[in-house]
Protein backbone atom coordinates (compact mmCIF):
# COMPACT_ATOMS: atom_id res chain seq x y z
CA UNK A 1 0.00 0.00 0.00
CA UNK A 2 2.83 2.38 0.82
CA UNK A 3 4.74 1.59 -2.36
CA UNK A 4 2.06 2.70 -4.77
CA UNK A 5 2.75 5.41 -7.31
CA UNK A 6 -0.58 7.18 -7.77
CA UNK A 7 -3.39 8.08 -5.42
CA UNK A 8 -6.19 5.49 -5.57
CA UNK A 9 -9.66 6.67 -6.51
CA UNK A 10 -11.72 6.05 -3.37
CA UNK A 11 -14.32 8.76 -3.97
CA UNK A 12 -17.17 6.25 -3.99
CA UNK A 13 -16.31 5.19 -0.44
CA UNK A 14 -16.08 8.80 0.67
CA UNK A 15 -19.56 9.41 -0.71
CA UNK A 16 -20.84 6.29 1.02
CA UNK A 17 -19.26 7.41 4.30
CA UNK A 18 -20.86 10.83 4.19
CA UNK A 19 -24.16 9.31 3.08
CA UNK A 20 -24.07 7.35 6.35
CA UNK A 21 -23.50 10.52 8.37
CA UNK A 22 -26.25 12.46 6.63
CA UNK A 23 -28.85 9.68 6.62
CA UNK A 24 -28.41 8.83 10.29
CA UNK A 25 -28.33 12.42 11.52
CA UNK A 26 -31.23 13.52 9.31
CA UNK A 27 -33.17 10.46 10.41
CA UNK A 28 -32.63 11.32 14.04
CA UNK A 29 -33.61 14.95 13.55
CA UNK A 30 -36.79 13.87 11.75
CA UNK A 31 -37.63 11.43 14.49
CA UNK A 32 -37.23 14.18 17.10
CA UNK A 33 -39.54 16.45 15.12
CA UNK A 34 -42.10 13.71 14.52
CA UNK A 35 -42.23 12.74 18.18
CA UNK A 36 -42.61 16.38 19.18
CA UNK A 37 -45.43 16.94 16.70
CA UNK A 38 -47.23 13.83 17.92
CA UNK A 39 -47.03 15.00 21.52
CA UNK A 40 -48.26 18.49 20.67
CA UNK A 41 -51.23 16.98 18.83
CA UNK A 42 -51.96 14.85 21.86
CA UNK A 43 -51.84 17.91 24.12
CA UNK A 44 -54.35 19.60 21.87
CA UNK A 45 -56.70 16.62 21.99
CA UNK A 46 -56.47 16.40 25.76
CA UNK A 47 -57.16 20.10 26.23
CA UNK A 48 -60.15 19.89 23.89
CA UNK A 49 -61.53 16.87 25.71
CA UNK A 50 -61.05 18.60 29.02
CA UNK A 51 -62.95 21.72 27.93
CA UNK A 52 -65.73 19.60 26.39
CA UNK A 53 -65.94 17.72 29.65
CA UNK A 54 -66.30 20.87 31.75
CA UNK A 55 -68.86 22.27 29.30
CA UNK A 56 -70.99 19.16 29.49
CA UNK A 57 -70.86 19.09 33.26
CA UNK A 58 -72.15 22.67 33.39
CA UNK A 59 -75.29 21.83 31.41
Amino acid sequence: MFLQESTPDTTIYMIMGYAVFSILSAGYAISLLARRRKLLKKTETITRMQSEDTNSSIH
Binding site: M1, T10, F21, L24, Y28, L39, I46, Q50
Partner: protein, 235 residues
Protein backbone atom coordinates in the same frame (compact mmCIF):
# COMPACT_ATOMS: atom_id res chain seq x y z
CA UNK B 1 -44.30 25.34 25.48
CA UNK B 2 -43.02 28.82 24.69
CA UNK B 3 -40.47 29.21 21.94
CA UNK B 4 -37.05 29.23 23.48
CA UNK B 5 -34.85 32.04 22.18
CA UNK B 6 -31.56 30.61 23.43
CA UNK B 7 -32.23 27.22 21.92
CA UNK B 8 -33.11 28.81 18.59
CA UNK B 9 -29.85 30.74 18.53
CA UNK B 10 -27.93 27.60 19.50
CA UNK B 11 -29.61 25.55 16.77
CA UNK B 12 -28.94 28.14 14.07
CA UNK B 13 -25.33 28.62 15.06
CA UNK B 14 -24.62 24.90 15.17
CA UNK B 15 -26.12 24.59 11.68
CA UNK B 16 -23.80 27.36 10.49
CA UNK B 17 -20.84 25.64 12.09
CA UNK B 18 -21.81 22.39 10.42
CA UNK B 19 -21.82 24.11 7.02
CA UNK B 20 -18.41 25.64 7.74
CA UNK B 21 -16.98 22.32 8.85
CA UNK B 22 -18.30 20.61 5.71
CA UNK B 23 -16.46 23.27 3.71
CA UNK B 24 -13.28 22.65 5.72
CA UNK B 25 -13.49 18.89 5.33
CA UNK B 26 -14.14 18.84 1.59
CA UNK B 27 -12.43 21.97 0.26
CA UNK B 28 -9.99 23.43 2.79
CA UNK B 29 -8.35 20.14 3.83
CA UNK B 30 -6.08 18.74 1.11
CA UNK B 31 -6.46 15.34 -0.53
CA UNK B 32 -4.50 12.62 1.27
CA UNK B 33 -2.03 11.10 -1.20
CA UNK B 34 -1.94 7.48 -0.08
CA UNK B 35 -5.60 6.77 0.71
CA UNK B 36 -7.31 9.20 -1.62
CA UNK B 37 -10.69 10.79 -1.03
CA UNK B 38 -11.90 8.22 1.49
CA UNK B 39 -9.54 9.73 4.07
CA UNK B 40 -12.05 12.57 4.41
CA UNK B 41 -14.37 10.16 6.22
CA UNK B 42 -11.84 10.29 9.06
CA UNK B 43 -12.87 13.79 10.24
CA UNK B 44 -16.48 12.96 11.04
CA UNK B 45 -15.68 9.36 11.96
CA UNK B 46 -13.49 10.42 14.87
CA UNK B 47 -15.84 13.26 15.80
CA UNK B 48 -18.87 10.94 16.03
CA UNK B 49 -16.87 8.42 18.06
CA UNK B 50 -15.87 11.19 20.45
CA UNK B 51 -19.51 12.26 20.84
CA UNK B 52 -20.52 8.66 21.54
CA UNK B 53 -17.99 8.40 24.37
CA UNK B 54 -18.87 11.86 25.70
CA UNK B 55 -22.60 11.13 25.63
CA UNK B 56 -22.20 7.90 27.61
CA UNK B 57 -19.94 9.63 30.13
CA UNK B 58 -22.64 12.29 30.61
CA UNK B 59 -25.14 9.46 31.12
CA UNK B 60 -22.94 7.94 33.81
CA UNK B 61 -22.65 11.25 35.65
CA UNK B 62 -26.37 12.01 35.38
CA UNK B 63 -27.30 8.47 36.47
CA UNK B 64 -25.23 8.89 39.63
CA UNK B 65 -26.73 12.34 40.22
CA UNK B 66 -30.24 10.96 39.72
CA UNK B 67 -29.73 8.20 42.29
CA UNK B 68 -28.26 10.74 44.70
CA UNK B 69 -30.84 13.51 44.30
CA UNK B 70 -33.92 11.86 42.71
CA UNK B 71 -34.28 14.99 40.64
CA UNK B 72 -36.17 14.20 37.41
CA UNK B 73 -34.00 16.46 35.29
CA UNK B 74 -30.96 14.18 35.69
CA UNK B 75 -32.99 11.26 34.41
CA UNK B 76 -34.06 13.29 31.39
CA UNK B 77 -30.46 14.22 30.60
CA UNK B 78 -29.29 10.60 31.05
CA UNK B 79 -31.92 9.19 28.70
CA UNK B 80 -31.45 11.93 26.10
CA UNK B 81 -27.71 11.47 26.15
CA UNK B 82 -27.97 7.70 25.63
CA UNK B 83 -30.22 8.16 22.62
CA UNK B 84 -27.88 10.66 20.99
CA UNK B 85 -24.87 8.56 21.93
CA UNK B 86 -26.36 5.50 20.23
CA UNK B 87 -27.01 7.50 17.05
CA UNK B 88 -23.46 8.86 16.95
CA UNK B 89 -21.90 5.49 17.82
CA UNK B 90 -23.85 3.95 14.93
CA UNK B 91 -22.43 6.64 12.61
CA UNK B 92 -18.96 5.97 13.96
CA UNK B 93 -19.15 2.20 13.43
CA UNK B 94 -20.77 2.25 9.99
CA UNK B 95 -18.54 5.03 8.62
CA UNK B 96 -15.48 3.21 9.96
CA UNK B 97 -16.62 0.10 8.16
CA UNK B 98 -16.98 2.04 4.91
CA UNK B 99 -13.46 3.46 5.35
CA UNK B 100 -12.05 0.01 6.14
CA UNK B 101 -13.30 -1.50 2.86
CA UNK B 102 -10.71 0.20 0.60
CA UNK B 103 -7.98 0.59 3.26
CA UNK B 104 -8.03 -2.73 5.12
CA UNK B 105 -9.70 -4.52 2.20
CA UNK B 106 -12.56 -5.74 4.39
CA UNK B 107 -15.79 -4.31 5.76
CA UNK B 108 -15.18 -5.68 9.21
CA UNK B 109 -12.49 -7.20 11.36
CA UNK B 110 -12.59 -8.20 15.04
CA UNK B 111 -10.13 -5.60 16.12
CA UNK B 112 -10.19 -4.37 19.77
CA UNK B 113 -11.43 -0.89 18.82
CA UNK B 114 -14.19 -2.22 16.59
CA UNK B 115 -15.26 -4.84 19.10
CA UNK B 116 -15.36 -2.37 21.98
CA UNK B 117 -17.42 0.08 19.94
CA UNK B 118 -19.88 -2.68 19.03
CA UNK B 119 -20.22 -3.86 22.62
CA UNK B 120 -20.76 -0.24 23.67
CA UNK B 121 -23.53 0.09 21.09
CA UNK B 122 -25.16 -3.12 22.36
CA UNK B 123 -24.94 -1.97 25.99
CA UNK B 124 -26.79 1.26 25.33
CA UNK B 125 -29.28 -0.34 22.98
CA UNK B 126 -30.04 -2.64 25.94
CA UNK B 127 -30.42 0.48 28.11
CA UNK B 128 -33.08 1.83 25.76
CA UNK B 129 -34.84 -1.55 25.62
CA UNK B 130 -34.81 -1.74 29.40
CA UNK B 131 -36.56 1.60 29.65
CA UNK B 132 -39.15 0.44 27.12
CA UNK B 133 -39.98 -2.68 29.07
CA UNK B 134 -40.51 -1.14 32.52
CA UNK B 135 -43.97 0.26 33.07
CA UNK B 136 -43.70 1.93 36.46
CA UNK B 137 -42.07 5.33 35.71
CA UNK B 138 -40.29 5.63 39.05
CA UNK B 139 -38.85 2.14 38.74
CA UNK B 140 -37.90 2.76 35.12
CA UNK B 141 -35.80 5.78 36.12
CA UNK B 142 -34.03 4.06 38.99
CA UNK B 143 -33.29 0.84 37.14
CA UNK B 144 -32.08 2.73 34.09
CA UNK B 145 -29.74 4.78 36.29
CA UNK B 146 -28.26 1.61 37.79
CA UNK B 147 -27.81 0.10 34.34
CA UNK B 148 -26.28 3.34 33.06
CA UNK B 149 -23.60 3.02 35.73
CA UNK B 150 -22.91 -0.70 35.21
CA UNK B 151 -22.79 -0.25 31.42
CA UNK B 152 -20.20 2.51 31.51
CA UNK B 153 -17.90 0.59 33.82
CA UNK B 154 -17.83 -2.42 31.52
CA UNK B 155 -16.65 -0.36 28.52
CA UNK B 156 -13.03 0.13 29.71
CA UNK B 157 -13.01 -3.46 30.96
CA UNK B 158 -14.03 -4.71 27.53
CA UNK B 159 -11.27 -2.67 25.98
CA UNK B 160 -8.75 -4.12 28.45
CA UNK B 161 -10.01 -7.66 27.81
CA UNK B 162 -9.44 -7.50 24.07
CA UNK B 163 -6.41 -5.27 24.24
CA UNK B 164 -4.33 -8.45 24.44
CA UNK B 165 -4.84 -8.78 20.69
CA UNK B 166 -2.77 -6.45 18.56
CA UNK B 167 -4.68 -3.66 16.94
CA UNK B 168 -4.57 -2.61 13.32
CA UNK B 169 -6.67 0.48 14.02
CA UNK B 170 -4.60 3.61 13.41
CA UNK B 171 -4.05 6.19 16.15
CA UNK B 172 -3.72 9.66 14.67
CA UNK B 173 -3.38 11.53 17.96
CA UNK B 174 -0.57 10.02 20.03
CA UNK B 175 1.59 7.04 19.19
CA UNK B 176 0.22 4.21 17.10
CA UNK B 177 0.71 0.46 17.20
CA UNK B 178 3.40 -0.46 14.64
CA UNK B 179 1.02 -2.97 13.05
CA UNK B 180 -1.64 -0.31 12.42
CA UNK B 181 -2.71 0.06 8.80
CA UNK B 182 -4.04 3.28 7.33
CA UNK B 183 -1.96 5.76 9.33
CA UNK B 184 -1.06 9.15 7.94
CA UNK B 185 0.55 12.37 9.02
CA UNK B 186 -1.85 15.29 9.37
CA UNK B 187 -0.80 18.49 7.66
CA UNK B 188 -1.77 21.74 9.42
CA UNK B 189 -4.92 22.32 7.29
CA UNK B 190 -6.01 18.73 8.01
CA UNK B 191 -5.39 19.32 11.67
CA UNK B 192 -7.51 22.48 11.59
CA UNK B 193 -10.34 20.71 9.78
CA UNK B 194 -10.12 17.82 12.26
CA UNK B 195 -10.28 19.92 15.39
CA UNK B 196 -13.01 22.08 13.92
CA UNK B 197 -15.11 18.95 13.23
CA UNK B 198 -14.61 17.83 16.83
CA UNK B 199 -15.69 21.26 18.04
CA UNK B 200 -18.71 21.35 15.69
CA UNK B 201 -19.87 17.90 16.75
CA UNK B 202 -19.59 18.82 20.42
CA UNK B 203 -21.69 21.90 19.74
CA UNK B 204 -24.17 19.79 17.78
CA UNK B 205 -24.35 17.33 20.67
CA UNK B 206 -25.28 20.07 23.12
CA UNK B 207 -27.95 21.36 20.74
CA UNK B 208 -29.45 17.91 20.15
CA UNK B 209 -29.31 17.14 23.87
CA UNK B 210 -31.24 20.28 24.65
CA UNK B 211 -33.90 19.46 22.05
CA UNK B 212 -34.18 15.90 23.29
CA UNK B 213 -34.50 17.00 26.93
CA UNK B 214 -37.30 19.36 25.94
CA UNK B 215 -39.03 16.48 24.18
CA UNK B 216 -38.71 14.38 27.32
CA UNK B 217 -40.19 17.17 29.46
CA UNK B 218 -43.09 17.43 27.06
CA UNK B 219 -43.59 13.66 27.22
CA UNK B 220 -43.80 13.78 31.00
CA UNK B 221 -46.21 16.73 30.82
CA UNK B 222 -48.50 14.96 28.38
CA UNK B 223 -48.48 11.81 30.48
CA UNK B 224 -49.48 13.84 33.54
CA UNK B 225 -52.28 15.59 31.61
CA UNK B 226 -53.51 12.27 30.34
CA UNK B 227 -53.71 10.67 33.76
CA UNK B 228 -55.42 13.76 35.18
CA UNK B 229 -58.01 13.58 32.42
CA UNK B 230 -58.56 9.87 32.97
CA UNK B 231 -59.03 10.45 36.68
CA UNK B 232 -61.57 13.16 36.00
CA UNK B 233 -63.49 11.06 33.49
CA UNK B 234 -63.64 8.06 35.78
CA UNK B 235 -65.08 10.03 38.74
Amino acid sequence: MQPNQHLRILTISSMLMLVLSIYMVFVYAPLEIVMGAVQRVFYYHVASGWIGALAFLITLICSILYLATRNLKWDHVALSSVEIGVVFTSMNIVSGSVWARPIWNTWWTWDPRLTTATIMWLLYAAYLMLRQSLENPQRRRTFAAVYGIVAFVSVPLTFAAIRIWRTIHPVIIGSSDPSAEGNFEMTPPMRNAFFFSLFTFTFLYVTLLWHRIRLEQLTVQVAAMQSRLLNKLST
